[in-house]
């Protein structure tokens, strides 16, 4: 749900970077004997705010600054965890790659609460997040608090990363945010349906992946992501095939410069929720960037086809 706005803003990999920083938080938590989830949350949210502030300043070095921060995060995590002595590396593995069986009931309550917060805030802000991600300059011109919205989105991403890290793992969390959205873009026709499809795909993959990993005794995170990628491959081959068949099946009208519209001079015939324009005895229906030839016979009464220049 959060992921779609990241895809829209061209920030697909930012969740990955936040995962790196969250790792430092986990390490600090393990070493200081605090709850790793809370320290990870603090680190990831702080990273989110810094990322957006760097982006808002519009520095060309912003990209480098982010890279330094992300790798600094993972390096710090590895070094700090090393100081804690034996036994911990396996613990770190569960955060990196996810292991749902290691969660305890207390964790589940915290995750559920955080998840509810993320879903509620994202739902409430959806129209504005869409507006900012679609055209930041226009949003700013209409007086929207663009920077505040971007920081909110980054914080939502950070919280999502932390919520999902025990299940999917910090290295794979970004995939679960992005891949279902990429799949949804292939099959959906509007933003609204894309977001719905992505949420459904994400949920199906998560539940399916966890179930599979339980019975097949595989890592939960990897299983979930592989399932998501499998769905993506199915969807992309489906849409490629559909594109090819649709190209053969439907009849395109001849190319013309003229654009049909309510006052173009060609008589408009309304049927089946769309409008055909009568053009030299042919019925032209707008389809994407061109016109389709519709074959239904026009009623003779309508044929006052004006010789419009085109």
């Amino acid at each position: 749900m959060v992921g779609v706005f990241l895809v829209q803003r061209g920030l697909s990999l930012i969740g990955d970077g936040m995962g790196h920083v969250a790792l430092a938080g986990v390490a600090v938590g393990v070493v200081t004997k605090q709850a790793p989830v809370l320290t990870a949350l603090v680190f990831a949210v702080a990273a989110a705010v810094v990322i957006e502030l760097v982006r808002a300043r519009g520095r060309t070095s912003g990209d480098v600054a982010l890279a330094v921060m992300f790798y600094g995060g993972i390096a710090l995590g590895v070094v700090v965890i090393g100081t804690s002595g034996g036994g911990t590396p396996t613990n770190l593995d569960t955060y990196l790659f996810g292991a749902i069986s290691t969660t305890n009931p207390g964790d589940v309550v915290v995750f559920a609460a955080l998840a509810v917060v993320v879903v509620t805030v994202t739902w409430a802000l959806r129209p504005r997040l869409f507006a900012v991600a679609n055209d930041e300059e226009y949003a700013r011109a209409t007086g929207m608090a663009v920077t505040a919205l971007n920081i909110t989105l980054a914080v939502l991403t950070a919280v999502t990363v932390v919520v999902a890290m025990r299940v999917v793992g910090l290295l794979l969390i970004s995939a679960l945010m992005i891949v279902p959205n990429a799949t949804a873009q292939l099959v959906a026709g509007s933003f609204r349906s894309a977001i719905r499809t992505a949420v459904i795909i994400g949920a199906v993959c998560s539940v399916g992946g966890v179930t599979t990993s339980f019975y097949a005794n595989t890592a939960s995170g990897g299983t979930i992501v592989l399932l998501a990628i499998a769905l993506f491959l199915v969807a992309s081959s489906y849409s490629a095939l559909r594109g090819r068949f649709a190209g053969k099946r439907h009849l395109e009208a001849e190319q013309h410069e003229h654009e049909h519209g309510p006052d173009c001079g060609h008589s408009a015939i309304e049927h089946d929720h769309h409008v055909d324009y009568l053009h030299d005895g042919h019925r032209h229906a707008p389809h994407e960037g061109h016109y389709d030839e519709h074959l239904a016979e026009p009623k003779p009464l309508d044929t006052h086809d004006d010789p419009v220049r085109h």
Binding site: V4, V7, Q8, R9, G10, A124, L125, P127, R128, F130, A131, A133, N134, D135, E137, Y138, A139, R140, A141, T142, G143, M144, N181, Q185, A188, G189, S190, F191, R192, S193, A194, E257, H258, E259, G261, P262, D263, H274, V275, P286, E288, G289
Partner: protein
């Protein structure tokens, strides 16, 4: 207001929609446009002309608050610039060549963004909003494509989606950055029809453009910039004459026509009289 079709203009007619007094705009303390004085009143259709880099876009973005206001006085609807909050009254049509290629979005979904300033944080489009979205798309001739993914539309159609988005905000002035640039000739023709239709409804427009020809008959006034300053401000007839004078030198037939331009006299800027002193000639 164009969309709902109410004929009355908000506020008094005498009050300027945009009023600049030796205003400067730019980025990070570097002024790109400076010393600009211009008033735009309700009902005017003003073209902002000028070569690349002359500061046209910087000027309109400055009015929209998208860059730094570095000096001079700026008033919008009689309100000083730094106190102006009612941004929805300025309908911005940005210069963009592509519309959101990364995710699916229908034309109606893009236009719905224009309604956001009129909705509260938890609000969703109500029947009135939906009607305005529909009417906005109809005004730009895209009513039959409301539910089509915008990335499949042509460049000119995408530009009209952006105009519809601005219209949906029910602004008191439309500010467009190069609405006809980079689209093919047929789309340009449709675009100028759309602009003429809006002008016919009494819309106030400020249009940054290169293609004067496409907008002829719609414009009531031309402001030309060069190197960040206004070099011409007058009607399109005056503009023709001024350019004629620049390229051909003093025109003997022009002697008696100097008083034609009472309606919008060139202020401090150079105007049609300049060739007399030889300042811009040859």
């Amino acid at each position: 207001m164009f969309v709902t079709g109410s004929p009355d203009v908000q506020g008094s007619d005498s009050q300027a929609i945009v009023s600049l007094r030796s205003a400067s705009f730019g980025y990070a303390d570097r002024a790109v446009v400076s010393g600009v004085s211009v008033d735009i009143h309700a009902g005017e259709v003003v073209a902002v002309l000028g070569p690349n880099g002359s500061g046209k876009s910087t000027l309109v973005k400055g009015i929209l608050g998208l860059n730094e206001h570095l000096g001079g006085q700026v008033e919008l609807f009689g309100t000083p610039f730094d106190q102006f909050r009612d941004h929805a009254r300025l309908g911005y049509v940005p210069q963009r060549h592509t519309l959101s290629a990364s995710v699916r979005a229908t034309a109606a979904e893009i236009v719905a963004i224009g309604r956001l300033p009129h909705q509260n944080w938890l609000g969703r489009p109500n029947p009135k909003d939906r009607r305005i979205i529909e009417e906005s798309l109809a005004l730009v001739g895209l009513a039959d494509r409301a539910n089509i993914d915008v990335s499949t539309l042509s460049g000119g159609q995408q530009r009209r989606v952006l105009i519809a988005r601005a219209l949906a905000a029910q602004p008191d002035v439309l500010i467009m950055d190069e609405p006809t640039a980079g689209v093919d000739l047929a789309s340009q023709e449709v675009l100028s029809q759309v602009l003429a239709r809006l002008a016919g409804r009494g819309a106030t427009m400020l249009i940054v453009t290169h293609e004067l020809q496409a907008l002829r008959g719609v414009l009531t006034r031309i402001v030309e910039l060069d190197v960040g300053r206004i070099t011409f401000d007058g009607t399109s007839e005056d503009h023709d004459r001024w350019h004629g004078a620049l390229s051909a030198g003093p025109d003997p037939h022009q002697g008696g026509q100097h008083h034609d331009d009472e309606t919008s006299p060139p202020s401090t800027a150079a105007g049609p009289l300049d060739h007399v002193s030889g300042g811009h000639g040859a």
